[in-house]
Symmetry: C2
Subunit: 342 residues, 2 copies
């Protein structure tokens, strides 16, 4: 009997592979249903990271840290609450590009601390730990890698000799609002990246591995693409359960559609599951939660060897978010009880 099934008796080690906004919200729910003695390790996507104005910005790590540390702007769902924007306005006055990325003044302090520590020789893991000492997120937040990895998006460009151009993911996401076709996704540095200390151990020692409804291409994709991570996921004794980021044929955050289409992944609850694949067949998933309205997707997912279950996926408030986290743990527990493939 696994630790998941024996939940009454022992602390549970939960490992979560997370992007930014969706992952952070899911984690809020998870912490609300987890026992105090449970240990949650979050492996955060760092392929969204970007150097801006000489500062290292880690949007996903910060969104997780701010959300769980009660510092997030609840409306925007990124950046700091009660933020001011003086420096941003001044940078624009100086004519410094880019102007499309909003760094608030409070947020700037985080990037200043991070950059100063990185330049002093600390790893991103160590820096993240130091920042979390303040935020006390209630999880062990670990970047997927201490090495620089950056997602670039290939878009059409008539002015280019090749007819295409690669831009940083943030430029595609924030400036272009993911509004034009994706011709390819280049995760620069991924092949040579090493998992950050603790990443493989967290997966190997986990009782449950969860994939929140984060973007499968630019959030989950880079994490599992770090050499060694997919193998660790395939080898772990823990069940691996994911939550569909697609509800009713549309991305929960609408802008993800282009990314899926660009890689030929159907924008559907089953499409993403099949893209990730079944552990029993060399993929990554044991279980997959789809929304109640996507009941038809269940058969296709099950046929691919992934145990699918229909539950409400919308994380509208703390109650529904907690319920989704509980449903994820429940599916994992059921899968653990029957044994997971290794």
């Amino acid at each position: 009997m696994s630790a998941v099934a024996a939940r009454e008796n022992a602390a549970m080690r939960i490992c979560v592979l997370s992007g930014g906004v969706g992952g952070a919200r899911f984690l809020q729910g998870l912490l609300s249903v987890a026992a105090p003695e449970d240990e949650v390790t979050v492996i955060g996507n760092t392929a969204d990271d970007i150097w801006l104005f000489g500062l290292k910005v880690c949007p996903d790590l910060d969104t997780i840290m701010y959300t769980l540390g009660d510092g997030i702007d609840a409306e925007r769902r990124w950046g700091r609450s009660d933020e001011t924007w003086s420096a941003k306005a001044e940078l624009a006055e100086y004519g410094v590009e880019p102007t499309w990325f909003g760094l608030g003044d409070k947020d700037l302090a985080t990037h200043l601390v991070r950059t100063q520590m990185l330049q002093a020789g600390y790893t991103l893991s160590a820096v993240t730990r130091a920042l979390c000492a303040r935020w006390q997120p209630g999880v062990d937040l670990v970047p997927m890698s201490d090495d620089r990895v950056e997602t670039h998006i290939l878009i059409d460009d008539d002015d280019s000799d090749t007819g295409q151009r690669a831009i940083h993911f943030q430029e595609y996401w924030v400036r272009l609002r993911a509004g034009i076709p994706v011709r390819g996704v280049l995760v620069v540095g991924l092949e040579d990246a090493r998992p950050a200390p603790g990443v493989l151990d967290a997966i190997g020692a986990a009782d449950v591995v969860l994939l929140p409804p984060s973007n499968p291409i630019v959030s989950i994709g880079p994490i599992v693409g770090v050499p060694g991570v997919a193998a660790a996921l395939r080898a772990t004794a823990a069940p691996v359960v994911g939550v569909s980021p697609i509800i009713g044929g549309a991305a929960v955050r609408g802008m993800a559609d282009q990314l899926l289409l660009g890689l030929g992944v159907p924008v559907s609850a089953s499409g993403v599951a099949l893209h990730l694949g079944a552990r029993s067949r060399g993929g990554l998933l044991d279980g997959w939660l789809v929304d109640d309205q996507d009941t038809p997707a269940r058969d296709a997912v099950s046929a691919a060897g992934i145990h699918a279950r229909c539950v409400p996926l919308w994380m509208n408030d703390p109650t529904t978010t907690a319920a989704l986290a509980q449903d994820s743990l429940a599916l994992a527990a059921d899968l653990a009880a029957v044994g997971t493939p290794r």
Copy 2:
């Protein structure tokens, strides 16, 4: 007849060696009395510069730029008007030192632009020019050197083996408010610093060289200490006229007293003049303005070979500030008419 005397007929080239607050105010007055075609070059002290939170901060250059560009906080006399302090509060929340130096959010943008350009390989001169493209200070602002020079103050420290300790000038000035004895002044890097491009030319080509009432030890001292600058001052055809930073036996900005005492310079209008010395005797000054209340100092200064004149030195408002600038130019013109030593 020099160009100073021929002021009606030709544009004048004025070269000013300046520290921060006092120099900036003097420059405001100078610009208000200068003809539109006059060219003012300001050689700014950079020995106050400090790296904070990974950013290069140049207090004197910024004070000049903000003051002449109408962006200064008029009350504080440093930093930006209508400033916000969100990042500073956050840095303190992170427990990052130092907490005693106030970097406002708008001000931060300046340091971000500067640091990013420096790290991209631009010189401080080039960066200063780029920043001034926004501020349009009405002068050509040139750092004394593109090389790193930093003033450190030697203070007593019972915990040290030597009984002394060197701290950055900003720590002495801002954190300790210059409240303890100065045992020595170490201008680190000065001996190996090279004058920034334009510095020696500006002195050599000047019709007038002015020393505003800036701190003689930590503002004027480092500028004239850059190898080649003192020689250029001694060689220029222009009269060199200074304004006493001491009025009635006290520093205009009171905190300078300790610095003078620490180097054995009497805190008096004549003490500073004698410290700088007469050009005719291997020093730097031809003329020296002392306040009306320091009339007795005139004799000692004159005896040292420096032409001293009593005028009101307090720069209380635009009118008195302009009058002081005019008095400086007038003394220079009179000295030029009789010829200056070379």
